[in-house]
């Protein structure tokens, strides 16, 4: 009787722990944003050695700070529109604000006729500009940059 009593409580708590374990392993996948696990990041760094091509776009300031999007050659649309690659919920951003696209091995930023403009390192983007690694692009309240 005493044994079964304690045993059942132990099993009940084991269930809670099992559920929390699933929650933990699920933590990264559930967010919808792609946050690489430490193991993966290490691998990516190794591969990036000696290769200075940008591999990801990182949001450094704004509501989405910390978001990473890996670059695979396809252009990246930024704006408030739902079908943008980076959807901004920012009153200072336009529906289709800016586009990052690849030419050869370089990435170019162009403004898509936004109301408040796009800035690359304090310079207003009026024509497609090449984006060096690590230089900030400001869109409304959001700042993004390219990293290898």
């Amino acid at each position: 009787m005493q044994l079964t009593r304690a045993g059942f409580l132990v099993l009940l708590w084991l269930f809670v722990l099992a559920a929390l374990r699933v929650v933990r392993s699920d933590l990264y996948a559930a967010s919808g944003l792609r946050v690489p696990t430490p193991g993966l990041r290490r691998g990516a760094k190794k591969a990036a050695k000696g290769n200075k091509a940008p591999r990801q776009l990182v949001v450094t300031h704004g509501a989405l700070a910390g978001t990473r999007i890996s670059l695979d050659g396809r252009p990246i649309l930024i704006g408030r529109a739902d079908d943008s690659t980076l959807v901004l919920d920012d009153d200072f951003a336009s529906t289709r604000h800016a586009r990052l696209s690849m030419r050869g091995t370089d990435w170019y930023v162009e403004d898509l006729g936004s109301t408040n403009g796009t800035y690359l390192d304090r310079a207003k983007v009026t024509a497609p500009l090449r984006v060096p690694l690590g230089s900030p692009i400001r869109i409304g309240k959001t700042v993004i940059e390219l990293r290898s």
Partner: protein
């Protein structure tokens, strides 16, 4: 120059495979795991726990231990796997933890209801009182609820369609909420002082349980379409932006509905639950603490007024402040519940070892007291933690989903379950006045079970939408072609 990325000009998406393997493992083309396997494992674990609980109850109550128990356990597992395959089929990316939590709570509820039946049989049969056990009925309700759950998952393939029926849901919900209060008593009888049932001959339903979900759909849809209205700043007082007086309409309406439930139906719990849900939805939609402060102030005013005016509220408060003043009569329920919890202590009396026949309304309002008696503080804490995990996963889905309506609805639904269990356990443990609403999934009651399984289906649908890989939107295929075009800057007309 390092290794150039191949096929840079107008690369079709398939060429992403040409990048080094380390990078491709984080590329968006990768399908996230569905985690249905974890769900099946947890479901089997839940069914095992429920079976063990049933065996312990039967053994400690000196019932015959037969193979029947194992068959019952397997039947429960069978029911759960039907739900599991429905999720696999219609919401493959849904959260893997929500359904097992519900399965365990529901199963534990079934076992406890059966255990209370055994206790009642011991008390009532010798006296020759005609009485029917509740557990078989609840099993039937569970089966019906699971069918409803699967249907809801199948029919509602996208939760955003609900937003279109916002006002319809609101109207139906309001009617369902108020109906028992205004109908004559032969169809809406007053049971235990609350007028919240509609009875049709043999069975009765509690429309308030469904109204809860319908009204949440309405409020979420309403707030999404009128969100700007509520964020308009009014006067600034004490570092808070108070809303303008004319924007208070919905809050006042919700408050009036809450008060009218309290007056017409004498149902304190539902009124508190309803008002709490409205407040949280407003807060989630606007991120402004002013609404919460205002709402709490209004609630306090309403509560004090109700306490001054109505006798049944005064009795509740009196029982809360000092249940032992009239322990044999008015304070009887809460006193027995406290004795039950006290008997349970830290580790409980063991399943089947308590005296649930001593606790009134043991299988509905006070089922958490029975669990506290038989499983002790440790067991009750585990049960509460399972509720917490459930609510947390619901909130998580709401955070991750992309559309505002889904965020609001998911957050509201998850909060509703957490708040409801707070009201129940708070009442049973004398933290707040006892209000008499059911513990979701645990308590005996068909309406509650059906409504809560629909709630689970909605939460799974929202978490599925949050985790599912984004299906390529329409303009996607044309984008590489656009990227190749030479872009010409055109001056905007000034």
């Amino acid at each position: 120059m390092g290794s150039p990325v191949p096929g840079a000009q107008g690369t079709p998406p398939a060429a992403a495979g040409g990048t080094p393997p380390a990078a491709s493992s984080t590329s968006p083309g990768l399908k996230p795991p569905t985690r249905r396997g974890s769900e099946l494992f947890l479901l089997a674990f839940a069914a095992l726990l429920v079976t063990i609980a049933l065996i312990l109850v039967e053994a400690n109550q000196e019932q015959e231990l037969t193979m029947r128990i194992v068959w019952l356990g397997l039947a429960y597992l069978g029911l759960l796997s039907v739900a599991h395959f429905a999720v696999r089929r219609w919401a493959p990316y849904a959260d893997p933890v929500i359904l097992p939590c519900v399965a365990l709570l529901n199963g534990l509820g079934l076992v406890m209801i059966h255990r209370i039946d055994l206790a009642m049989a011991d008390v009532k049969l010798p006296k020759g009182v005609v009485w029917s056990p509740a557990a078989p009925k609840q099993v039937l309700w569970t089966a019906i609820a699971l069918v409803l759950f699967c249907t809801a998952l199948k029919v509602l393939s996208d939760h955003r369609t609900l937003a279109r029926y916002g006002y319809t849901c609101g109207f139906l919900g309001l009617v369902a909420l108020v109906l028992p209060g205004v109908l004559p008593s032969f169809i809406a009888p007053e049971i235990n002082g609350a007028k919240i049932w509609l009875s049709f001959g043999a069975f009765s339903i509690q429309p308030g349980e469904f109204a809860k979900i319908l009204l949440m759909v309405f409020f979420a849809a309403f707030l999404v379409s009128k969100r700007e209205l509520f964020t308009t700043a009014g006067r600034r007082v004490l570092g808070m932006d108070l809303p303008r007086a004319r924007d208070l309409g919905p809050l006042v309406a919700a408050w009036l509905v809450g008060v009218s439930i309290m007056v017409l139906q004498k149902d304190l719990g539902s009124s508190l639950l309803f008002f709490g849900i409205v407040l949280v939805l407003l807060y989630v939609a606007t991120e402004r603490a002013a609404w919460v402060v205002l709402g709490v102030v209004m609630f306090c005013v309403g509560a004090v007024a109700a306490w001054k005016m109505f006798g049944h509220v005064q009795i509740r408060v009196q029982n809360w402040l000092d249940p032992f003043a009239d322990a044999a009569n008015k304070g009887y329920q809460i006193v027995q519940s406290l004795f039950g919890l006290g008997t349970g202590g830290l580790f409980g009396a063991g399943l089947g070892g308590g005296r649930p026949d001593q606790i009134p309304e043991a299988n509905t309002d006070f089922i958490t007291a029975v669990i506290g008696e038989e499983l002790g503080f440790v067991g009750l804490a585990a049960v509460l933690l399972i509720y917490t995990v459930f609510a947390m996963r619901g909130m998580r889905g709401a955070l991750a989903v992309r559309d505002t309506f889904g965020k609001l609805l998911g957050g509201g639904l998850a909060f509703a379950v957490a708040f409801q269990i707070f009201i129940v356990v708070g009442g049973v443990t004398k933290l707040i006045p006892m209000t008499g609403i059911t513990a979701p999934f645990l308590s005996y009651g068909g309406s509650s079970l059906l409504a809560n399984y629909i709630l689970v289906a909605l939460l799974l649908r929202i978490s599925d939408a949050a985790r599912a890989p984004k299906t390529t939107p329409k303009p996607r295929p044309q984008q590489p072609a656009i990227a190749d075009q030479f872009t010409v800057m055109v001056e905007r007309p000034k």
